[in-house]
């Protein structure tokens, strides 16, 4: 029995720690593949410490964690003292109130905080950028506070209340009594509360995601965008270091506890060495706080113009794999401008982020139909082409496009096609006959469908022979039915996640953008690209625009001009593998790209592509709801159904509130 117990305990620890061990091992791996250990190396750590961006993000996270912890500890301790001095009944009520944010789902806290910040910032204070460092810090303090209070309260309750009286009796004012006596009594609670708040802050993603602006991004929020693509092993190295940090913190906390327990048990006075150690810890904490504040201050005092560029993920050359680091190059040419990049993953996400407000970005790169929509809704600023002389390099065929007929709002960035990427090892060439490949039951469970309503409907429309810009409800419904029919065959609806899945051969067939397909084909030789020319395919353009929330219009125009420099554009295409709307850029591109038929299909083929136009607001919404119905929920939803749904939710809410109240009342009654 005892033995079985021990075995179980060991198994439990293995279960708990094996993921961490895998990660740590991976961080020392020479190979890139996480499944094969090829040799021991510290190279990833070296790379990590050379990656200024990653370290900067880590610094951001640590800074936020330190500052929010310091504030939480200060206010939480004071709050606990205040709550402790309340009458017992009131104390209980207040305590349960302070505990709610801790049990509240993060997503709810995140969304509600975000709403509040935008409401106050944009609505009341008229700020351009209401989500920023301050709101992120406030949010972290919000969820850190309850942990401090929760840890300090028991210490206050355990404390002999006469100690405060004794201190006052001996000449201390209440404030002095707090610092000379009470603080020492509750210190273990303060420290453990602080450590909890620190770790919570350090790894928070959900809340941060909603309240962070474009100027200050924490590590977890940034890493979220990484996981959709193959993770670079240097990230493993960083995780290992982070784990180490948390581990040491926890160990310290437990040792502190052990120490104080033992001190009480053995009744020995505190040793000198221990006192010194304590002072040292306090010193380090204080120093790091000062450094953190200094860093913040230095950051805040920067006199450079900050240009916020909001771009698709992996859509600008950043210096990896021998490409040019465009941001660095731009900053070299314009030393007074500091470029900050942030990323979105679809046109729809970009649209809603801008529409919700609260962020301020200067350059965005949406696709054609979205530019049309934003232009219609007055979300874009007119460009001053005097600042963009390089616009002259743009090919005539890309000027004055349908989505911006007078070419006032946009400058093309890339163009490309949507086609089918398939694995020749598993897919029979005979089956590659058109978009119907995406519906072939032979490959059920190995098909990846593109995860946005416009492209998904486009594919169905090409297959069914409708116009991609149809507004006919019957045709749209037919498309939705077609997509619903495809649902059981689909492994996953994906965007950037496609990379790992296709490269690792977990799926065989996918519809995606040509440029990305090129990149994947470089990684896996068995992959091939196919454009169903007889049925039609999407020809898209992404173009640079300045949204009306921009604060640095002139710098933004400089940046757009910079991107139109043929040399820069060419270097950029080397990284993203899309086609440039600037023919002159081909000279600066690697030959295989410039000559690729996938990137630059011939004229004849190109004529068979069509581009999306902006449908009406109403149609967009209709398409979106059809899409959600067809792909996300089992049944194909009809129009009438949604009106019934909210009632269900209201009922659930009422039940929950009612049940909760009843429970509370009963509990209270029992007490009396």
């Amino acid at each position: 029995m005892k033995k079985a117990n021990r075995v179980l305990t060991i198994l439990m620890f293995v279960f708990l720690y094996i993921p961490m061990v895998v990660l740590i091992v991976a961080s020392f791996n020479t190979g890139k593949d996480i499944t094969k250990f090829e040799g021991f190396t510290f190279a990833q750590y070296g790379e990590l410490f050379r990656d200024k961006d990653l370290l900067g993000l880590l610094g951001n996270s640590v800074l936020i964690a330190l500052l929010s912890t310091a504030i939480s500890v200060a206010f939480g301790t004071l709050a606990a003292v205040g709550i402790h001095s309340l009458k017992p009944k009131m104390r209980k009520a207040v305590l349960s109130l302070t505990n709610i944010p801790m049990t509240n789902p993060d997503i709810v806290t995140g969304v509600s905080l975000s709403l509040l910040f935008v409401f106050v910032g944009t609505g009341l204070l008229n700020q351009r950028e209401s989500l920023n460092f301050g709101t992120l810090l406030l949010a972290h303090v919000t969820f850190g506070l309850p942990y401090v209070i929760l840890n300090v309260m028991p210490k206050l309750q355990q404390m002999n209340p006469a100690l405060t009286d004794a201190a006052m009796d001996l000449g201390c004012t209440p404030v002095k009594a707090f610092f000379k006596v009470i603080i020492h009594e509750i210190m273990p609670g303060v420290v453990s509360g602080g450590i909890m708040a620190f770790t919570m802050s350090l790894d928070d993603f959900v809340i941060s995601y909603f309240v962070t602006g474009s100027d200050f991004v924490t590590l977890p929020v940034e890493i979220y965008t990484y996981t959709k693509k193959p993770i670079h092993p240097k990230v493993y190295a960083m995780f290992t270091l982070l784990f180490g940090l948390i581990f040491v913190l926890m160990l310290t906390m437990n040792l502190l506890q052990l120490r104080s327990d033992r001190k009480k048990a053995s009744k020995r006075p505190v040793s000198r060495g221990w006192k010194i150690a304590r002072r040292w810890v306090a010193g380090v904490a204080a120093a790091s706080l000062v450094v953190g504040c200094g860093f913040l201050f230095a950051n805040g005092r920067q006199e450079k113009t900050v240009l916020n560029v909001y771009n698709w993920g992996m859509n600008m050359a950043d210096g990896t794999d021998g490409t040019m680091d465009l941001v660095a190059e731009f900053e070299k040419r314009y030393p007074n401008i500091d470029v900050r990049m942030s990323e979105y993953e679809s046109n729809e996400v970009l649209y809603s982020k801008l529409k919700n407000g609260g962020i301020s970005v200067d350059v965005i790169i949406p696709s054609d139909y979205m530019i049309h929509r934003m232009r219609n809704e007055g979300m874009l600023l007119e460009l001053n082409f005097d600042n963009i002389p390089n616009f002259a390099y743009v090919d005539e065929q890309f000027k004055n496009p349908d989505y911006d007929p007078e070419n006032k709002y946009s400058v093309p960035y890339t163009w490309g096609t949507v086609g089918i990427l398939y694995n020749t090892k598993y897919v029979d060439e005979a089956d590659v006959t058109g978009w119907e490949l995406m519906w072939n039951e032979k490959y059920a469970g190995k098909i990846l469908m593109i995860d946005n309503s416009r492209d998904a409907f486009g594919i169905a429309q090409y297959l069914l022979g409708y116009s991609v810009n149809t507004t006919d409800k019957a045709e749209l419904q037919a498309c939705a039915d077609k997509l619903a029919q495809q649902r059981p065959l689909v492994q996953q609806y994906v965007m950037d996640q496609i990379y790992a899945t296709m490269e690792n051969e977990e799926a065989y067939i996918a519809a995606y953008y040509a440029g990305d397909c090129m990149l994947m084909m470089e990684e896996n030789e068995d992959l091939a690209f196919y454009l169903p020319e007889h049925q039609g395919f999407n020809l898209f353009t992404d173009a640079m625009c300045i949204p009306n929330c921009a604060t640095e219009k002139e710098a933004a125009e400089l940046f757009i001009n910079f991107m139109c420099d043929p040399e820069i554009s060419g270097a950029n295409m080397d990284y993203i593998c899309y086609a440039s709307p600037i023919s002159a850029a081909k000279e600066y591109m690697e030959d295989y790209l410039a000559e690729s038929e996938i990137v630059y299909p011939d004229e004849e083929l190109l004529n068979k592509g069509t581009s999306y136009q902006f449908l009406s607001e109403e149609t967009s919404r209709y398409v979106e709801s059809l899409y959600q119905g067809a792909t996300k929920i089992n049944s194909v939803s009809t129009e009438e159904e949604p009106s019934g749904k909210p009632i269900v939710w209201v009922a659930v809410a009422v039940l929950a509130v009612g049940g909760g109240t009843w429970f509370l009342i009963r509990r209270k009654k029992k007490k009396h």
Partner: protein
């Protein structure tokens, strides 16, 4: 000894509508050892905390050295307190605990050292300065608490049941120690206890309290010998309390007999409470006694026997060194000085009848003996 230091005037204290103190009037002289004595809940600790400044009275004033100090916070009063469970600071060692008040007052370092070391000697803890307070015994902690308060040389030292947590033997030693320290320093002590023996043996003045009111103030001997009402008579020591009628000065009638006593100044035929201390009663042969009764219970107490004797349906407690078995018929004699006469009060009829001996006995001495009816 004669100078008045503290005066409490019409103190009333209410918590949540409940009256804890009800019109306390009291003065405390310089260099006095004054004890507030009473059962738990009588308001003695509340009174002490008001003097210390930890509570503000609902009504009434606290005068210190001629000035009203109602609104003076504790840290500005020249008063220090020894708390019920010591309230030593666990994060400081013995020396630092004692030096706490001096450091808050920003006294020079050398002087602090000198005074703390002197204090350690006074409380017989020389060489204990570097010890952790949690490593000390209860008695030692008690002495640290006293030293910590006294080192500030307050005008008044408040002690809130300081010996309550100690065992009997240690308590006796500390009583002597406290009395010695008080005499040596000349500081006014205001001492709170529910232990009547402690109060009688240490104090210059005893204040007996019950239900938020002062029942009697006096020297220990006066309190014992001349209790003002049935509560005091019963709370201080043991008493048989009977209904009587004061026929005239020095003549009291009870149990149908007239006795000579030493009290005077009552109305003729005034109903009174008669107190007879169990240890004052002389047991004689039945035929020589003023009263004759039957022994119904006996308990051996070491120094003496407690016997319960029934006189015409009324049971008395008598303390005697001789053994009288249950059922024995004995006579008693009462000398005039053994009889104490009190005015009737709200407490009349509530105490001094040993018919339900066991329960009352237990409650008062917290000492379980053999019980017999």
């Amino acid at each position: 000894m004669s100078k008045e230091l503290i005066r409490l005037r019409d103190l009333t204290m209410e918590f949540d509508g409940e009256r804890i103190l009800d019109g306390i009037n009291l003065y405390i002289n310089d260099h006095e050892f004054l004890t507030l004595l009473g059962p738990s809940g009588c308001g003695k600790t509340t009174t002490l905390r008001i003097i210390g400044g930890f509570l503000t009275p609902t009504e009434g004033t606290v005068v210190f050295d001629g000035e009203c100090i109602n609104d003076v916070p504790p840290y500005k009063r020249q008063i220090n307190t020894v708390f019920q469970r010591y309230a030593l600071f666990p994060h400081l060692n013995v020396f630092d605990n004692i030096a706490f008040g001096l450091r808050v007052a920003k006294m020079p370092k050398e002087e602090i050292e000198q005074r703390v070391n002197h204090m350690l000697e006074v409380v017989s803890l020389k060489g204990y300065g570097h010890r952790n307070v949690s490593s000390l015994s209860g008695g030692q902690q008690q002495r640290v608490a006293i030293a910590r308060a006294l080192v500030n040389e307050p005008k008044v030292l408040l002690l809130d049941e300081p010996l309550g947590a100690l065992d009997l033997r240690l308590r006796k030693d500390m009583q002597n120690e406290l009395k010695r320290i008080q005499q040596a320093t000349g500081i006014t002590f205001v001492y709170v206890t529910h232990d009547q023996e402690e109060a009688l043996s240490m104090s210059d003045t005893v204040v007996v309290m019950d239900k938020g009111r002062i029942q009697q103030i006096g020297k220990p001997e006066d309190i014992y010998n001349e209790p003002k009402n049935a509560f005091v008579a019963d709370f201080i020591g043991e008493s048989n309390i009977l209904d009587g009628i004061m026929l005239a000065d020095y003549k009291v009638k009870f149990f149908g007999r007239t006795f000579t006593c030493v009290d005077a100044g009552f109305e003729p035929n005034e109903p009174v409470d008669v107190v007879i201390r169990p240890e004052d009663i002389d047991i004689v042969e039945p035929d020589q006694g003023h009263l004759v009764g039957t022994v119904t219970g006996i308990t051996f107490k070491g120094l003496n026997y407690d016997i319960i004797v029934e006189f015409k349906g009324f049971k008395w407690l008598i303390q005697t060194t001789d053994f009288h078995p249950v059922g024995a018929v004995i006579g008693i004699r009462l000398n005039p000085e053994d009889i104490h006469i009190m005015h009737k009060s709200e407490y009349s009829g509530m105490f001094g009848d040993y018919s339900s001996y066991s329960a009352e006995y237990d409650e008062l001495t917290e000492d379980a003996g053999d019980e017999e009816e």
